[in-house]
Symmetry: C2
Subunit: 227 residues, 2 copies
């Protein structure tokens, strides 16, 4: 189970953060709790899984679970949180010349891979994607998901306002564009989760397609189908 060096040379690690046995154990317990939780959630359902079940599957007490995660819900969204932060970084990295909606669309397009990597470091990507469908079909989880999405949008709206040199408290447009972007994302997730093919690639393609349709859907004429 040991991973670090033979005896105990803490100065060999880079100046970054130097794991330490205790830290390693903690991280392993956390990841184990996370995996146990997501597996149970996807197999038997979120509501049907008690915290005691998760704790037992990870061989810790219920009390310990709550020391790692403030709530059952927080455990459920821990991985999503990782993914989202990657997207935020990508938005930050966009060149300032682009129109806001374009910047968001392109940031998303180029962060899919980074997101996949981040997820894989904690739980199998496939498990995460399967759990995403559980979110959509579980009212309590969907509610939490939407609230978290709103918070994320607020954060991104500030970034957009900064890019455009606008005061977010005086000009509503940054929030409006981001809200529109988020709305399309949610519609996409919903449709994706109802499909048979619920892989990452399918979600990526759907998202790209729908984002391209925002402007025409709002302004253009509605004559003629366009699956």
């Amino acid at each position: 189970m040991k991973v670090a060096g033979t005896s105990a040379p803490p100065e060999t690690a880079p100046a970054a953060s130097r794991p330490g046995l205790r830290e390693l154990k903690k991280q392993r317990t956390r990841d184990l709790l996370l995996r146990s939780a997501l597996e149970l959630f996807t197999e038997r359902g979120y509501e049907e899984t008690t915290v005691d079940d998760i704790a037992e599957a990870a061989d810790v007490s219920q009390r310990t679970f709550f020391r790692y995660f403030a709530s059952k819900e927080e455990a459920a969204f821990f991985v999503s949180r990782l993914a989202e932060s990657r997207f935020v970084e990508a938005v930050h990295a966009r060149p300032p010349g682009e129109a806001p909606l374009d910047a968001l669309r392109l940031a998303l397009a180029e962060s899919w891979d980074t997101i996949g990597e981040a997820v894989e470091q904690v739980v199998p990507l496939e498990l995460h994607m399967r759990f995403y469908r559980v979110i959509e079909s579980t009212p309590a989880l969907l509610a939490a998901h939407l609230r978290r999405a709103t918070e994320l949008e607020e954060e991104i709206a500030r970034v957009v306002a900064g890019r455009e040199g606008l005061d977010i408290d005086r000009d509503p447009r940054p929030r409006v564009v981001v809200a529109v972007f988020g709305a399309v994302m949610r519609v996409t997730e919903r449709i994706w989760s109802a499909r048979d093919d619920a892989g990452l690639a399918a979600l990526r393609d759907l998202t790209a397609t729908y984002l391209d349709q925002v402007t025409p859907a709002l302004t253009g004429d509605w004559r003629g189908p366009e699956t």
Copy 2:
């Protein structure tokens, strides 16, 4: 405590649905629970109010509360539900020629009064508006609010799809427009709830203003401020 006539002439009531003493009592208990709940929520906070508190304020047992409302949350949103159904009716009543976004905007504009009336029949409108601010500042309530908004959007999207003669499962545009509309509504609510003037009139004006800015915010140039 008695309210009805002296002895018992049930045939005096209109043919509509003939209340009956039992029905009346039920409705009064429900309204009392609703008022007690909203008052406690606004005075001391949602999380700080227990179901026992509400039941006690309405002089019923906790068990009875749960027979009227499936959850504390359901009680919190009961009045909002009334308001929303009025809006849906207004959308239905819009002439078929209008562009979807216009239909939504106009339906909203003309349903404010009806909404006010519907609310007043259960609790004071002012109490409802005050509670709306509690929703925005209480994570658990905000989450529930957003989930409910999503369900409402799905319903409206079907209406829009019907108006335009589109298959909602083959054309994403109805959902997209409605999602955009809903997104703007939520941004408006949020900004409104953070203001000092949180009356109904202020919300109505803010909504009208923001909805007019959707299209320019997405397509137009972003040069020049426009509070």
